[in-house]
Symmetry: C2
Subunit: 428 residues, 2 copies
């Protein structure tokens, strides 16, 4: 791959040496963590290919689209309405942010006590090892947490940035603010692309994104089977790839994967023995290549059966109502969908407890692992009450707070003890 | 004092033993830090008295008001519109939050990486040593930062809490959200007090609070004199007492202090020798009894000449326009005033840089000390850019991040070096 894309990366202004080292490390980790898994679904081949080509073929594809006049919008958050971007003929991609890259440089711009996701996206940019940053015509941020909100102010010095405000309470006035922000965003995307977002175009885009959500929801539901038909690692990977890949192609591939998993379920076949402790992961997002939690859980004999996470069901559960005919009606529907997201940025956010509880029941989870990125205040704050309330309902909770450092040993010790505790229940 | 108020504290449910220890420590610190200062203005006697009676006479006064049917609203933030509270015949007071009290208990409710101000208000409540919490009919929180926003959710288990949403961008839709929140707050205060907020009542209340702001602004301006007519410690104390004391009485006392300072200035008299390095403090709030920064600066031979802080000019600089006649017009004016506050909760918040620069000029500061509470992300994030930009404009900046622990030694080393660097400039 390296030879084939070297010219492209050079033209994008990447630091080739640092980028080579990054890809080499990534490839090695991927082989060790993913390709050694037993009994993987065959349909994972496609996702392996996409990850292998994440800085290659997909970047080439985006550059090709740009050459044809399409714009690329990079974003980080499930609140950014991809439907609007697609309706304007542009493409939305996720940003690099899941590895400890360039942290020393990032800390010249950010407080030391900043979550690793934020340090990482700064680091990827400053170290010039993320092709998506370099090819993006616009980076769209949002005011979901103090860390990101303030980081985007500074990031504006490094790249073209547009920030969406968010209400912090799901009130009528809060909805009006967010609805106004969706209108402002639409105007910005129209300005960027030189294209008008029409009702027809937006309805089509809603259909595309809804279909991707529906496929991912189908995948999420299949994981309720015991034995689990797919590993938590592979399922997380699919959810991560959702942020990068072409949505239509991706949806087909997820549905093909689901077809295969349905056959497995009919045959009673799975990736972990029946009775392996089943874990629902809930909390902060896990960006590529942040695979620490499912890797540790599954190497300890557990299996992750769901992610109540932005990289997981939080971004897919609800679909946009496709009934509306007008542009305003469609934006209203997008507004309503996003305001159902149970992000810890909202206060109060009590529905999230019910969602985690319900998901744990539906997915037959034996325990909940609350995953917290260090210094991710909103999720850390919710985790204490979540643990208390779920424990009261008979759902054991392990809270893990970690960054992108190599602390797997420590995490493993705590996960092992947790799984040990769950074993008598698991499969009971 | 202890004997006189013991019964009252017991009735309020305070932990008398812990409260005795707290007051003893506070009294000792106050004597050491404040009463040993040379050449204090005589008018500080009143503020010494108020601090001495902060859990005594003022609490008694509030209980007396409650016995007559008035309600007490406790709040933390300059966005909470005290005018509305006063217009409903209620009283607004600040909350305890400036000392390391009950942190071990607070950490059962809050992430470890939470700013000490928040841990402290939880700690004061959980340790039952803050009479204001116990007598308050309502605690009003606001969504200014992740830490407070999420903390108030949990604090609702411990006390009656009402939370105001805030926009994060000063846009038209953001203003509409905040204006709606002011209306909702007014309705809540009417419900609490059983009284209607009228245009006349609100206009009068605006006058009262504006007069207090004007007096504090007068004090702030007098500190531009060289030599400084009042220490930073005493000026901070006055600003801290503003959150607790009866506003009309307090305003008179601040004006009396200013009369005395004007005489001093005419005589060329001050608290520090002419040429002592003059420091503008900017950043996170300093709640009673958090006196660390001015104490260290002034014990090193510098003098603090201003506070660009919520406990400082950020809460006083702008007055509410008194021109409006209707209730809606007055709430509009309150809305507009609060949205001029340059809180780091807003994005962007570029005006703050200009304000700090202008204040440093007006107050003839030799350097800016950016004060950051640990884990106060919004101010920490702004501090890096503020330092870069101000340095470029020839204004040296020292960034200090600290909590409520006894780390004065470390802070002193850095402050001493900073003052040493400033000395050739100071008085030049």
């Amino acid at each position: 791959m390296v030879a084939e894309y070297r010219g492209m990366w050079q033209e994008l202004g990447l630091d080739l040496e640092a980028h080579d080292a990054l890809l080499e490390g990534l490839g090695e980790a991927y082989r060790d963590i993913f390709l050694t898994q037993p009994n993987r679904p065959r349909a994972m081949d496609y996702f392996d290919f996409v990850v292998g080509e994440i800085h290659g073929a997909r970047v080439q594809e985006l550059l090709h689209a740009k050459a044809q006049g399409r714009k690329v919008v990079a974003a980080f958050c499930v609140f950014v309405p991809e439907e609007v971007v697609l309706a304007a003929g542009a493409i939305q991609v996720g940003l690099c942010g899941g590895a400890e890259v360039g942290f020393d440089r990032a800390e010249q711009y950010l407080p030391q006590a900043t979550c690793p996701l934020i340090k990482s996206f700064f680091g990827f940019k400053l170290a010039r090892v993320c092709p998506y940053f370099e090819l993006a015509d616009l980076v769209v941020g949002e005011a979901t947490c103090d860390g990101k909100k303030k980081a985007y102010e500074v990031f504006g010095d490094l790249a073209p940035v547009y920030v969406m405000d968010l209400p912090q309470t799901k009130s009528g006035a809060g909805r009006a603010l967010w609805r106004a922000e969706l209108g402002r965003f639409t105007a910005e995307i129209e300005r960027l692309t030189g294209r008008t977002v029409t009702a027809g175009g937006l309805r089509e885009a809603v259909g595309v994104v809804n279909a991707r959500r529906a496929a991912l929801n189908r995948l999420a539901r299949l994981r309720a089977a015991d034995p689990a038909p797919i590993s938590g690692l592979d399922a997380l990977l699919v959810n991560q790839v959702a942020f990068y890949d072409d949505p239509v192609r991706f949806t087909d591939k997820v549905n093909a994967l689901c077809d295969e998993l349905e056959q497995r379920i009919r045959r009673g076949e799975g990736v972990a023995p029946r009775g392996a402790p089943r874990i629902l992961v809930s909390g902060s997002p896990m960006a590529v290549p942040n695979w620490k939690i499912p890797m540790v859980v599954e190497s300890c004999g557990g299996v992750v059966v769901g992610e109540e996470s932005c990289v997981g069901t939080r971004s897919t559960r609800d679909l946009v109502d496709e009934g509306a005919q007008t542009l305003d009606g469609l934006l209203d529907a997008i507004c309503d969908r996003t305001l159902r997201i149970e992000c810890a940025c909202f206060t109060p956010n009590n529905e999230r407890l019910e969602t985690v509880d319900r998901m744990a029941g539906e997915l037959r989870a034996d325990g909940v692992l609350h995953y917290n990125l260090s210094f991710c205040t909103p999720y850390a704050a919710e985790s204490l009450r979540l643990q208390r309330e779920l424990s009261r309902r008979g759902r054991p909770v392990l809270r893990i707070e970690t960054d992108y450092s190599r602390d797997e040993g420590q995490v493993r010790n705590r996960v092992e003890a947790f799984l040990e505790m769950l074993r008598p229940q698991a499969g009971a």
